[in-house]
Structures are given as structure tokens and as C-alpha cells.
């Protein structure tokens, strides 16, 4: 096998970049292969130089099942779930912002916070079901994952995708990724819940 992930051909990314807008850039995270190393979180902090306490990306651990009796086989499962901004179709943060500082770009669907307009009221943090908007105590404004818009505009993948040790996190255009996942019979879609905002990030397990 090549070191590239066989589940994700490079053509999908090329197609995604070439496709004319309006479109939705997003991420696909395959939970089966995330090893919980947090390299994406660190790559994100490094790329965006975020202060301590402001994390555009986090990896949460979800524990299922209970194991109490050593005489029985354990039934425990742990999932590592990377949590970037979902770049939602109907962003709750955008609806909650009283000053219109949050916008969803038509050309690529990326949700961005305009720091010049933001007043740091944190309504967006309350509204977001995924904990994406983060308050920067230094700048007194909200910040969040930009899908590495500065890289994507240059035709580069987001830093978290490039760094992923387990090759389980992919960048692409929503429809291209969805088509590809649907063609993969093995990949089952997983939900991160609270679908009312139409989160664009795709999870499979």
C-alpha cells in the first residue's frame, strides 16, 4: 500500500478544487482509523498560532459500554472524535450573532468570523451545538476554525488534514466526498447529533 490512504484518492481533492462555486468545502473524518493522537489539534494551533485555551480543533473521547466484572469479557468501546467547525448549512452561530460578524461564504461554504466586527459577546458560543466558536481572552473576540481558508485559497489542504498521522481525515467538496463515501460500501455514516444546523463535516465509522 502507498502511504496515502487507499480510501481517499487524490482525484477527489483535485476535482473539489477545480469545481466552480457555489460549493461547500468540508472535511470527512473516518472515525474507525482515528487513533486519538491529537496531532491535528497541534497542527492547527501551529498553523493558526492560537493562544492556550483557544482550540479551533479538538479531539474528544467517547466511551461506551461498561466493564465491571473481570470474570466476563469486557464490552467497552472508545471513539476518538475530532471536532473542527462543522461549517454548517444553517449556522446557528451566524443566526445568533447580534452584529452580523459571522458570514457563510457563497463560493465555498466556509463560515468565517469577522474579528473587526465581533464584539466578543459570545452568543455564538452558546448557540453552536459543537463548541466551535472560542473566545480569545487576548483579543477579546471570538475565533474559530476557518478550514484553513488561507491555505485552501492557495490550493492547499487544511493543516489538520496534511498532518493526520492515521490518514483518517480528508478535505474536499461536500458532494464529491459524499458521492465517494456512498460508493464505499464499508463506510457507515455516523452522526454527531444536533443536525438542525446542517453540519457539513462528514463522519463515518
Amino acid at each position: 500500500m502507498s502511504e496515502l490512504n487507499p480510501m481517499m484518492p487524490e482525484e477527489i481533492i483535485e476535482q473539489s478544487f477545480k469545481k466552480p462555486g457555489p460549493k461547500q468545502y468540508t472535511l470527512w473524518v473516518d472515525l474507525e482509523y482515528c487513533i486519538g493522537c491529537h496531532a491535528c489539534t497541534m497542527a492547527c494551533k501551529s498553523e493558526n498560532n492560537t493562544p492556550v485555551g483557544v482550540d479551533y480543533n479538538r479531539v474528544i473521547e467517547v466511551e461506551e459500554g461498561e466493564f465491571k466484572d473481570s470474570k466476563k469479557s469486557p464490552d467497552v468501546r472508545v471513539y476518538f472524535v475530532p471536532m473542527p467547525c462543522m461549517h454548517c448549512g444553517q449556522p446557528a452561530c451566524m443566526a445568533a450573532c447580534p452584529v452580523g460578524a459571522i458570514t457563510k461564504r457563497k463560493e465555498d461554504g466556509i463560515v468565517l468570523i469577522n474579528k473587526d466586527k465581533c464584539i466578543g459577546c459570545r452568543y455564538c458560543a452558546w448557540a453552536c451545538p459543537y463548541g466551535a466558536p472560542q473566545f480569545s481572552a487576548e483579543a477579546k473576540v471570538m475565533e474559530k476554525c476557518t478550514l484553513c481558508v488561507h491555505r485552501v485559497e492557495k490550493g492547499l489542504k487544511p493543516a489538520c488534514v496534511d498532518t493526520c498521522v492515521a490518514k483518517t481525515r480528508f478535505f474536499g467538496e461536500l458532494n464529491a466526498l459524499t458521492d465517494y463515501i456512498n460508493r464505499q460500501k464499508a463506510a457507515k455514516r455516523a452522526s454527531v447529533g444536533a443536525g438542525g444546523t446542517q453540519p457539513s463535516v462528514l463522519y463515518t465509522k
Binding site: 500500500m1 502511504e3 490512504n5 487507499p6 480510501m7 472515525l31 474507525e32 482509523y33 487513533i35 486519538g36 493522537c37 491529537h38 489539534t41 497541534m42 494551533k45 492556550v52 485555551g53 482550540d55 466511551e63 459500554g65 461498561e66 466493564f67 465491571k68 466484572d69 473481570s70 470474570k71 466476563k72 469479557s73 469486557p74 467497552v76 468501546r77 472508545v78 471513539y79 476518538f80 498521522v165 492515521a166 490518514k167 483518517t168 464499508a186 465509522k205
Partner: protein, 715 residues
């Protein structure tokens, strides 16, 4: 087994990537692939193994590894779960004839009388040979046998009974039943038999380890048992088998008058007991089995002046005051002027050890230096990574390293300056030979990279510097060889390809425990925790101390070098004592509650043994309650098997800027987030005989890292 492949591996989590390959069903045998994780903790690897329902987590009780492994061996030997033809090969010539590259010692005869050594040709009256085998019952020198030798056999020569290694191993494995093994490991009955059956019938079975089985008082034998399981299924050096890795590229500084260390080491490693009494009062470790030294014994030896008093101590790269299990002995030794009269530390931070030292020589980070990095077993080709500083720069003429901090030097530069000052012959003018001066780190490594496998030195236009190392072509044809009819082997360029694999450890069987005068055994033994005299712990201790200490590490931290990176610290702002829900119910606690915990030896902290340290202990451990009790905050999780008190390392720092510290009366940068959480090391149990050192493997020198008894009470 005790190998956390997705959390701790390098380079670049390679084994995790191999596992992904199997999981993604792209490898040749991916559909049949099953990953079984034997670990007291549901590690990240266990999470991946069980994700799709194919793998399994076996939550073994700490320190019972030998029962699991020897139990597997027993099942395999009794149920034909081994490669009979392979194990019957006595010699290189027979191996070659039958299409094998390696062979084993399974047919070699071993004495049943101590010292239990291999029968030699001389002792059998046959001629000159290191080993004797039986061919159809007839003693034959191994090199003269032209066919398979008898596997499960024995004979009497000159009144002494000799048995083949195979038979000796079978009898050893049969000392306990599988039911006993399952019970000692505290796993569901039938687990070991099931695993052994699945393992030995798999197409490419392999059982691998890292420090889990080894860092125990029975660690040497645990590792040996694990390797023997691999030997039984003929997967050593095989494609898809157990690969020990091969030699890295090497260079050298061919100084004509290099001086080598001599004499007895303070940690009594690599030496036999040389005293006048019949038995030693302290342990001595053979160089054969403890090649890296026994660091905990250094500090207890230094305190006791055994075997002699030391005059000075130079610390580099290490932080034993924090990292050493039962670290009170380390700290007391550093505080005791008689034990360690003069101390130096080369450190990038004011670490726990450095803060006790007389002189501190500020270091660049350990990555900011010249050097290299060898290959690890997951890499099947020959490689060598070149390490070069990236922050500072070199003077173009003298090649002196210039740091961005004025007082900082690379550790190598400090050592070379010391060597020059001491007049050591391999340093300074003409140190590397006529016309080759070794005045600094660059000079040294430039010379090192001109010899043996390297040519160009640190020439910026050479391929070594340009590529950042030397790498063999990783194409499969360089990784494996198809020259043998029995199957593919790894190529191992630079390593020993054709070799005999020893299941029996003759050198260990010829060595004695220095404190009892009894010979060690050449085969693995059914043992859990043993003290320095190889006695099991008093079973009554578990009545008073029913919990077991357990530790692990986060994926994103090293033990002592990363917590002061606040980005990393922010991933998990503090650690907890992880306990199982069953224990939480018994104790009546929930996540976030506080408990107090002590070990059978932690109350020694309040005695005269630690009279200097006890004055400061509450400054370092704010959770110390006195009387040997420490308080911890618990987290209840099914990721830990019942009965464990599991605390991950890297947290609860008291140096490296975690607490306030001063230089020339001026407060220096510090941040309490560095010291968040809890540190378990003072709760390691001391050896019941030696009292002032953690329990250590008398053969291999590894520390009993898990399973020492603890008493836990709700506050």
C-alpha cells in the same frame, strides 16, 4: 501485549499505520486479521482493535504476564500448535537443506543438574562442540547431524540426566494448569486457551511487546516467554512475523587513543558480585541481561556507599528526581552531601533533578543538537536520520555552535570542553588522529560521519545533510528475500541473517543471584512480583493493600520533557487517578471525588530514611497528607480493569517551572499549569528486603512498574 502501538511508537506511528492497512482490508491477509490487545488498560490500540468488532481486549491483571504467556505455551505444546519441523532443525546445514534461514536450540540437550548448562560435545565424550542433540536417541554433536533431531527427548550421560530444551520447556509450562493461569491473570476462564488456539492457527501469527511485560520484576522471563511463543510458530525474521529490527548505519571517530570506562559501576550492573562474603547484601546485575544499567540502583547505591562512595555526579538528558519509581530515594540522595558531594546537571529547564544540583549548565533542547537517530524494528530497511540544530547556528570557521540564548551550549559541546579540560586523549588538537581536531560537537560529528557507512561528513552539499540522513531503498525486494523454500524472510542488510535462535538462555542459567547464591533459571518461570531474593510478596499484604498501582502515558506527552509546552498541556489540563466503576461503587466515590492512598512503604517518607527530603516534600507534593498518604482526585472509567489505581505520567510536576523558583533572588518564569495533576512515583512500593529501592528484576534490571499493592480510602 503491553505494547501500545497507537500511542507510543516511532518513527511516525509506523505500526499504527500498518494496523490501519490491515483494518482497511488492503493487505494480503486483511480479511482474516485479528488484533488482540492484552493490557490492564483499554488503550487507544484496544479502541482500534475492537472498533469494527473483529479484535479483542483482554484486561489482564498487572504483573501476571508470565501466567498468560506460559499458559499459551502450554496450550500450544499440548495441542500441536507449533511448527514441529522447524523446531527439529539442529544446525545450519540441516536448515539450509530444508529451506530455512534460521534454526533453534529446541533439540539441544540441557543438564537437569545445576548449573543447568547445554551439554557440550566434550562432556558427552564426542568431540568439540557447543551443543549436543539426540538423533533417533543417539547423542550427536549438533554440527554433525544431517537430519532432524529428536525434539521431545532426554537421555542420561555419565549419570546425569539431560533433556532437550523443548522437553524442559514443556515440563516448565506444565507446572501450572490453564485454569490456574486464567485465575491468576483474573480473566474469564478459557481465555488463554482460546487465544492460543486462534494464534497458532493463524496464517501469520505474531505476538509483540514493548515495555509492558518487560518493566517488571519478572520482566526478563516475561520477554523470553513472549519470544518463545514467536519461535514456536516460526515467525522470527519472517515477513509478517516478529522482526527484531536490524543494524542501523554506523559511523565512527577513529581516534587512536580512545579511553574506555573501566571498573565496577555504582549501579552494580554489568558485573558479577566481587565481594568477600558468600552472598552480597545488595543485588548485582549481569552485563548479559541488564546491558543498559540499572538506574534506580545508582541512587540507592550512592546513598549507601555501596560498592563505593561517589565523588561527583553529572546528569544529562535525564530527570530521575521526577521519573524514577520510588523517587524519594533519588531526591534524598541528591540532598545528601555525603552521598553525592558534587553534582552537575545539563538541562534545558530547571527540572526536578537540576534544582537539586550544585551547578546547572543550560542546554539547548535535546532536539537542538547534532547527532543521529537509528532505525526501530517497524522499519525493515536500513536507515539513519541526521539530527541537526535548527534554532542556533554554527560559526562558519570554527564551527562553534551559537545559541540564541547567550549562556546556552549544546550538551555535546559541554562534554567535549570537559574532556579537553581533563586532557582526555581523543579530544582537542589531533584528537581524531593527526590533523583532525575535535574541539566541539560539529568537529566530532563531522568526523563520525566520514567513516564506516558514511563518507561526506557534515558537508552541506553532501547527500547526508541534504537528505537529512541515509536511507536504504524501501522497495519490497530490498525488505524481503524469497531465497528460502519455507517462506519469505526479511532481508536485514547489515544484520545477521543466518542465525540460531535460542529459547534457552544459557548465560542466565550460569549466573547466580548475588544475594542468595542460587542459579537463575534458563527458561521463563511462572512468577508474578518477586523481590531481590526472588521471593514472592507476602500474600497478606494484599489484604491490607488490595488495589494495584498502574501507570500509562498520554499519546501527546513524553514523561518529563513536554508538560512545559502549554499547548500540549492544554489538551488535558490535569490527570486523575483512574478507577473502575466497580471500585468506585465499593469506595462510594464518583468522578471528581477525592481519595487518599498509601503504599506498604510510603510511610517511610516520615522516617529518618528521608530526613532531608521530608522537610520539603509538601512543597513538591502539595497532595501529601503525611503518614505515607497522598490524596488524589479520581475519574471513574471502564477503560481500567477492576482493582487498579491508574495514574498517567507527565503530570504533577514540581520542577521545570511548575512551581515558583528564584535565581539570584529574582523570580523566574513559572506557570502552575505545568504542575497540574498528580504524580504516582512516591507510591511505588520499595523492595521488602532492600527497603530503599523500587522492586527490580534481579536478572534484567527492569523496575516493577505496575501492580504494586496500594490502599485507597475515600476522604
Amino acid at each position: 501485549m503491553g505494547s501500545n502501538v497507537t500511542q507510543a511508537d516511532y518513527p511516525m506511528q509506523l505500526r499504527a499505520r500498518y494496523l490501519q492497512k490491515f483494518g482497511k482490508r488492503v493487505g494480503p491477509s486483511a480479511k482474516e486479521f485479528k488484533h488482540v490487545v492484552v493490557d490492564p488498560r483499554f488503550s487507544n490500540a484496544a479502541a482500534k482493535a475492537t472498533h469494527a468488532g473483529a479484535g479483542e481486549w483482554i484486561p489482564i491483571k498487572p504483573a501476571t504476564d508470565a501466567y498468560f504467556l506460559l499458559g499459551m505455551i502450554r496450550w500450544m505444546l499440548e495441542n500441536n500448535g507449533y511448527k514441529r519441523e522447524y523446531l527439529s532443525i539442529p544446525s545450519e546445514s540441516v536448515a539450509k537443506k530444508k529451506g530455512y534461514r534460521t534454526w533453534t536450540d529446541m533439540t539441544y540437550l540441557v543438564s537437569t543438574k545445576e548449573p543447568k548448562a547445554y551439554l557440550t560435545g566434550k562432556d558427552a565424550g564426542l568431540g568439540t562442540s557447543d551443543y549436543v542433540v539426540l538423533v533417533n536417541g543417539k547423542p550427536t554433536m549438533f554440527q554433525e547431524s544431517t537430519e532432524f533431531a529428536d525434539l521431545d527427548a532426554g537421555t542420561v550421560i555419565n549419570g546425569v540426566e539431560y533433556k532437550t530444551v523443548f522437553r524442559t520447556l514443556r515440563e516448565r509450562a506444565q507446572e501450572k494448569t490453564l485454569e490456574e493461569c486464567d485465575a491468576v491473570c483474573d480473566i474469564p476462564p478459557g481465555t488463554i486457551a482460546k487465544v492460543a488456539k486462534e494464534f497458532s492457527s493463524a496464517k501469520h501469527p505474531v505476538i509483540e511487546m514493548f515495555r509492558g511485560p518487560v518493566q517488571q520484576s519478572n520482566g526478563w522471563y516475561n520477554a523470553q516467554a513472549l519470544c518463545i511463543i514467536n519461535v514456536l510458530v516460526d515467525n522470527i525474521d519472517r515477513k509478517g512475523g516478529y522482526i527484531s529490527g536490524h543494524a542501523a548505519y554506523k559511523g565512527d571517530v577513529e581516534a587512536p587513543n580512545k579511553r574506555k570506562p573501566s571498573g565496577v559501576r555504582v549501579d552494580t550492573a554489568k558485573a558479577k558480585y566481587q565481594g568477600k562474603k558468600p552472598f552480597a547484601t545488595r543485588p548485582w546485575y549481569s552485563g548479559y541481561s541488564a546491558p543498559r544499567g540499572v538506574a534506580p540502583n545508582f541512587f540507592s547505591s550512592a546513598r549507601m556507599g555501596y560498592p563505593y562512595r561517589i565523588k561527583a555526579y553529572l546528569n544529562y538528558y535525564n530527570d530521575p528526581a521526577y521519573t524514577m519509581p520510588y523517587n524519594q530515594e533519588t531526591i534524598e540522595a541528591l540532598l545528601d552531601l555525603k552521598a553525592m558531594p558534587l553534582t552537575f546537571s545539563i538541562d534545558a529547564y530547571m527540572g526536578e533533578t537540576s534544582m537539586f544540583c550544585d551547578y546547572i549548565l543550560p542546554d539547548t533542547e535535546y532536539h537542538e543538537r547534532l547527532g543521529g537517530f537509528k532505525t526501530y524494528p517497524p522499519v525493515k530497511t536500513q536507515v539513519w536520520g541526521l539530527r541537526q540544530p535548527v534554532v542556533g547556528s554554527f560559526d562558519p570557521k570554527t564551527h562553534e555552535y551559537k545559541s540564541i540564548h547567550p549562556d546556552t551550549k549544546m550538551a555535546d559541546d559541554v562534554l567535549i570542553m570537559v574532556a579537553k579540560e581533563c586532557g582526555l586523549p581523543a579530544f582537542g588538537k589531533d584528537g581524531g588522529g593527526p590533523g583532525i581536531d575535535i574541539n566541539n560537537s560539529w568537529d566530532y560529528w563531522n568526523e563520525y560521519y566520514k567513516h564506516k557507512d558514511f563518507k561526506e561528513g557534515l558537508d552541506p552539499n553532501g547527500s547526508l545533510v541534504k537528505l537529512g540522513g541515509k536511507f536504504q531503498n524501501p522497495a519490497p525486494r530490498y525488505q524481503y528475500t524469497k531465497d528460502y523454500s519455507s517462506g519469505e524472510y526479511t532481508s536485514f542488510p547489515g544484520g545477521r541473517q543466518v542465525r540460531v535462535i535460542f529459547a534457552y538462555q544459557n548465560s542466565v542459567a550460569l549466573n547466580k543471584n548475588s544475594m542468595t547464591g542460587k542459579y537463575f533459571d534458563g527458561l521463563p518461570m511462572y512468577r508474578t512480583i518477586v523481590d531481590c531474593k526472588e521471593q514472592p510478596l507476602d500474600p497478606n499484604i494484599y489484604k491490607e493493600y488490595p488495589f494495584q498501582l498502574h501507570t500509562w502515558k498520554d499519546t501527546f506527552h513524553t514523561q518529563s520533557r513536554t508538560m512545559n509546552n502549554l499547548w500540549l498541556a492544554s489538551i488535558k489540563p490535569q490527570n486523575y487517578a483512574d478507577i473502575n466503576p466497580a471500585d468506585a461503587e465499593k469506595l462510594g466515590v464518583k468522578s471528581g471525588d477525592w481519595v487518599k492512598v498509601k503504599s506498604p512503604s510510603s510511610d517511610q517518607l516520615d522516617t529518618d530514611m528521608y530526613k532531608n527530603y521530608s522537610k520539603y516534600i509538601k512543597d513538591f507534593y502539595s497532595n501529601y497528607l503525611g503518614g505515607g498518604w497522598f490524596k488524589f482526585q479520581v475519574r471513574v472509567t471502564s477503560r481500567i480493569r477492576p482493582g487498579l489505581f491508574s495514574v498517567c505520567q507527565s503530570y504533577g510536576r514540581f520542577g521545570a517551572g511548575a512551581k515558583k523558583w528564584y535565581m539570584n533572588g529574582k523570580e523566574q518564569p513559572n506557570d502552575e499549569r505545568v504542575g497540574a495533576g498528580f504524580h504516582i512515583n512516591p507510591l511505588y512500593m520499595a523492595d521488602p528486603v532492600l527497603k530503599n529501592i523500587a522492586i527490580i528484576d534481579p536478572i534484567g534490571g527492569g523496575t516493577q512498574s505496575y501492580g504494586t499493592p496500594l490502599r485507597v480510602e475515600r476522604i
